[in-house]
């Protein structure tokens, strides 16, 4: 195919939009931790972005998108971006496709820093992050998008509901179990230190998601337009439904409202190119409520998956994958879901999501255990007490 300048321009812009989501995650999480860990929390996202940027160029891209080996992983054909140049891949330069995909890999690692908030040793995170993106993200991206087995059974994932959100959410759950609770968790309150910072992070996420889902059409076309509309609609529905669900029990918090927006965004991600705007209201609204319930469940269980990436991204991602199999409309993306009588699509979605849950949880659990028993994932008790800003970075967020 020939290069299309409209498509190329849009994916270049979408890449920049998605890039902004990673610092957005940092600010979203940074406001939720205590003031002594604000610098650390935001930095973890930046470090995730930098780390994956290098890994992706060297071998992450080829593991994900190199020619298929046994349905499981990509070959080394694009090692060091060998053969990835300005020529067309579809209607955009291969380099543009590569960097657009890079921003997805990076934000995924940033999302799972939720599980290690306020207690991870920086050096261990760097080693863990590099291994995690290589052993968990890259295979999953290959299964779904790189011509692996999930694509061949027909599981749909438009923009990364499985690859990004199920993988980061369930990995966060495993990681939280291995690293353990923060000192004092459950004994005294650990309230968010700066809610406006979290709201700003959520704004950047909502904004960047237009590139995340709108760009995943890989073209400036009608599907991109549909993705953009359903993305915004689902985010709005999620924000309102979480707000209302929380209101029934007490005060509707702004933190809950933006968490609901993110839940809606997560759930519409796999579906954005396959469902119509009215379905996206249902998908977003249901996501807001079930992710809220998942968060309450997590708190009741006394589990310190600190910033709820499991509840929002993991649970929201599973719902989104299933919802794609329920609401997909042939008129939008050429596939039909349950409501149009296609059971097969729903089954493929359930298998794809289930496999991602198991793979992400199991591999992350083993990887985290190995790192924890060899170099240790956690800072010392004293370093945790002083806070990671001073102990890991020698800085303070607020003088």
């Amino acid at each position: 195919m020939n290069l299309d300048s409209g498509d190329t321009a849009w994916i270049l812009v979408a890449t920049a939009l998605v890039m902004l989501m990673t610092p957005g995650v940092g600010l979203f999480y940074g406001g939720m931790v205590r003031r002594k860990n604000a610098v650390s929390m935001i930095s973890l996202s930046f470090i995730a972005f930098a780390l994956v940027s290098i890994q992706w160029v060297l071998f992450g891209y080829t593991l994900s998108f190199g020619s298929d080996i046994a349905g499981f992983i990509g070959s080394m054909e694009y090692f060091g971006l060998e053969g990835v140049g300005m020529e067309a891949n579809g209607t955009i330069p291969h380099l543009v496709f590569m960097i657009f995909q890079l921003t997805f890999a990076a934000v995924t690692l940033a999302i799972l820093t939720s599980a290690i908030a306020e207690r991870v040793r920086l050096s261990s995170f760097i080693i863990f992050g590099l291994l995690w993106t290589t052993m968990v993200y890259d295979p999953l991206a290959h299964w779904v998008w790189g011509g692996g087995w999930a694509a061949s059974i027909g599981a749909l994932d438009f923009a990364g509901g499985t690859v990004v959100h199920i993988s980061s959410g369930f990995s966060a759950l495993a990681l939280a179990l291995v690293i353990g609770k923060r000192a004092g968790f459950g004994e005294y309150s650990m309230e968010p230190h700066n809610i406006p910072m979290t709201l700003l992070g959520a704004a950047l996420l909502w904004f960047g998601w237009f590139g995340f889902n709108g760009g995943s059409a890989l073209a400036a076309d009608g599907i991109a337009a549909n993705a953009l509309v359903v993305t915004n609609t689902a985010a709005a529905a999620g924000a309102l439904s979480w707000l209302l669900a929380e209101w029934l029990r007490g005060k509707p918090s702004s933190l809950g409202m933006v968490s609901g927006a993110v839940a809606g965004l997560v759930a519409i991600t796999p579906a954005a190119g396959f469902v119509d705007p009215l379905s996206s209201i249902v998908i977003g609204a249901v996501a807001g409520v079930i992710c809220y319930k998942a968060m309450l469940f997590r708190v009741r269980k006394g589990l310190d998956e600190s910033l709820d990436s499991w509840a929002v991204h993991g649970v929201g991602g599973v719902w989104g994958a299933l919802a794609t199999g329920i609401f997909a409309s042939e008129a939008i993306g050429g596939y039909s879901g349950l409501i149009y009588g296609d059971v097969q699509q729903f089954i493929a979605q359930a298998i794809g999501a289930g496999a991602a849950v198991v793979y992400a949880f199991a591999v992350t659990f083993i990887l985290a255990k190995v790192i924890d028993t060899t170099i240790g994932l956690r800072v010392t008790e004293e370093e945790e007490y002083i806070g990671l800003d001073v102990s890991q970075h020698g800085e303070k967020a607020y003088a």
Partner: protein
């Protein structure tokens, strides 16, 4: 009248407040402060080099009570603020000459309730 001034760990504030409330002491003033004891804060060992954190965040609770309530206040604070580790803080008891309620101009023991 005495002012009881307690410097405690910030994360223990909720427990101390609860404990004081159970003993019937409701009114208090709370300030976020920084300080250090004889150990000069905490020094962290970091790949061979030492990093000093010479003042640590603490919370100061000020509570003014009648002389005969001082021991009960001290007991309520220590029982909730103690972890047994260095850095639990200190309590000071200071004489108070007068207490005035601004709204009414009343003066004396009735101003401080207990």
């Amino acid at each position: 009248m005495k002012k009881v001034e307690a410097i405690i760990r910030p994360e223990r504030l909720d427990l101390v407040k609860e404990s004081l409330e159970e003993s019937g002491f409701i009114s208090m003033t709370i300030t976020e402060v920084k300080g250090r004891g004889e150990q000069k804060g905490i020094s962290l060992q970091f790949r061979g080099r030492t990093m000093e954190v010479d003042v640590l965040p603490k919370v100061k609770i000020e509570i003014v009570v009648r002389d005969d309530a001082v021991d009960a206040v001290i007991e309520a604070i220590t029982s909730a603020a103690r972890t047994g580790k260095i850095g639990d803080g200190k309590i000071f008891v200071i004489p108070v000459e007068r207490a005035i309620r601004i709204r009414t101009g009343e003066e004396g023991d009735q101003v401080i309730v207990k």
